[in-house]
């Protein structure tokens, strides 16, 4: 390794076209994420992060390291993915889920399986758990949430369920009071909610997924924005397969299933239902 020999420079060196192409292809092949030619800065910044950790001075050295170490692939995936998320993000979806769950529970359904497809650092599955737990407790429901992501680093963070007080500030005060307990590093989601959420690694671009279904709710929010149309279409088809009739598919506010399938009906923008 020609480590640490790099002289300090003002900003990263430009990435050779050949390396860019290789990394774009690798990203698409393993994550389905499309990094356009207009996103060189993003590619450079994220790969540099890995190079700094590994003490590598050149892009060529990184490519060599990548080819020689099969386990670098997961590390590459972990830096190349975007993990933006927040508690109570696009909050109307959680109100809708709570209302729908209440209606289903009042109709006598007792078993509920919910999937959060791109859970990132956990704010979304914990928001789902924190929102739906009171309904589940009140009606004695068998309710579990599966949270998945392709990035193993964020899954580790999500599973620990520990957040800074600043991050938890987005949580409504009453939920914050009943849903979190203080720990030395900040606040942790309480055990009763933690027990309802499972975490696993999943590549959304490689259906069929290991779940059998039927699922009642799928949150697949703000992940299709990174994928191309054929990949989105396959993902939506797999969601349709896993949902029970009447089950809901919830996408991000800027996403839509427009023209992707004829097997979903629109409940409202970004929310779809499998017809009964």
């Amino acid at each position: 390794m020609d480590a640490a020999a790099a002289a300090p420079a003002l900003g990263p060196a430009p990435m050779p076209e050949r390396v860019q192409r290789r990394l774009r292809e690798l990203t698409y092949e393993h994550t389905g994420i499309v990094i356009g030619p207009d996103k060189e800065t993003l590619l450079v910044a994220r790969v540099q992060k890995r190079m700094r950790k590994l003490g590598l001075a050149s892009y060529e050295a990184y490519i060599q390291h990548f080819d020689a170490h099969p386990d670098e692939l997961q590390q590459f995936i972990n830096v190349i993915t975007t993990n933006t998320t927040a508690f109570w993000r696009e909050a109307d979806h959680f109100d809708l889920a709570r209302e729908q769950l209440t209606a289903w529970a009042e109709d006598g359904q007792r078993r509920f399986r919910i999937w959060c497809a791109a859970s990132s650092t956990g704010e979304e599955p914990w928001t789902i758990g924190l929102t739906l737990s009171p309904v589940a407790d009140q009606h004695g429901l068998d309710l579990l949430v599966l949270a998945t992501d392709i990035d193993t680093r964020v899954l580790g963070v999500a599973k620990r369920a520990v957040y800074t007080r600043e991050a938890v500030r987005a949580v409504p005060p009453d939920v914050r009071a009943r849903g979190f307990e203080p720990v030395p590093e900040g606040l942790r989601v309480v055990r009763a909610v933690r027990e309802r959420v499972r975490f696993g690694q999943l590549n959304l671009t490689r259906p069929p997924f290991p779940m059998k279904g039927p699922l009642d709710l799928i949150f697949c929010r703000n992940v299709m924005i990174y994928l191309d149309r054929p990949t989105r279409q396959r993902l939506i088809a797999e969601c349709v397969r896993l949902l029970r009739p009447g089950g809901l598919l919830i996408l991000g506010h800027s996403e839509s299933a427009l023209g992707m399938t004829d097997r979903l009906e629109v409940v409202r923008p970004s929310v779809y239902r499998v017809p009964e």
């Binding site: 910044a45 992060k49 590390q75 972990n78 193993t152 900040g186 499972r198 696993g200 800027s254 839509s256």
Partner: protein, 136 residues
């Protein structure tokens, strides 16, 4: 004679109907083209919105990264003292987001230094949680 004139009328009427049907057909074609164009426009607007959303998330990720770096730098700089400096400067403010922030202890020192090239200790390794999918 009356029959002949009636037949002529009918032929004329049929011609008229044919002409009208032709017009309707042309108008329908035009409408279909219009609908197609609208669909294409909506699809491309949809794509633009989704690309913009992705860019916004990426920018937000970069901002978090910067916040994390500046916090680390702050922690490093705090170690230095200048003559005549009364006290240590105040600790860096808590990060506005989760993730990076929870990797520091209450004293602000990083729990895990970014030195190893391998997987982080708290990573969820691939395959570790296969049992997670059971029951789903």
């Amino acid at each position: 004679m009356r029959v002949k004139s009636q037949l002529t009328d009918i032929v004329g009427a049929v011609d008229e109907v044919t002409r009208i049907v032709g017009e309707i057909s042309a108008a329908s074609d035009e409408q279909a083209r219009g609908v197609e164009e609208v669909t294409r426009a909506v699809t491309s607007m949809d794509q633009v919105v989704q690309n913009a959303a992705a860019s916004a998330e990426e920018a937000s990720g970069a901002a978090s990264e910067l916040a994390e770096r500046s916090r680390e730098m702050h922690a490093l700089v705090r170690r230095f003292r200048l003559k005549g400096m009364p006290d240590a400067p105040p600790p860096a403010p808590e990060l506005p987001r989760s993730g990076p922030g929870l990797r520091t202890t209450s004293s602000g020192a990083p729990l895990r230094l970014a030195s190893s090239g391998g997987a982080a200790m708290d990573d969820l390794f691939p395959g570790e949680d296969d049992a997670a999918f059971e029951g789903f």
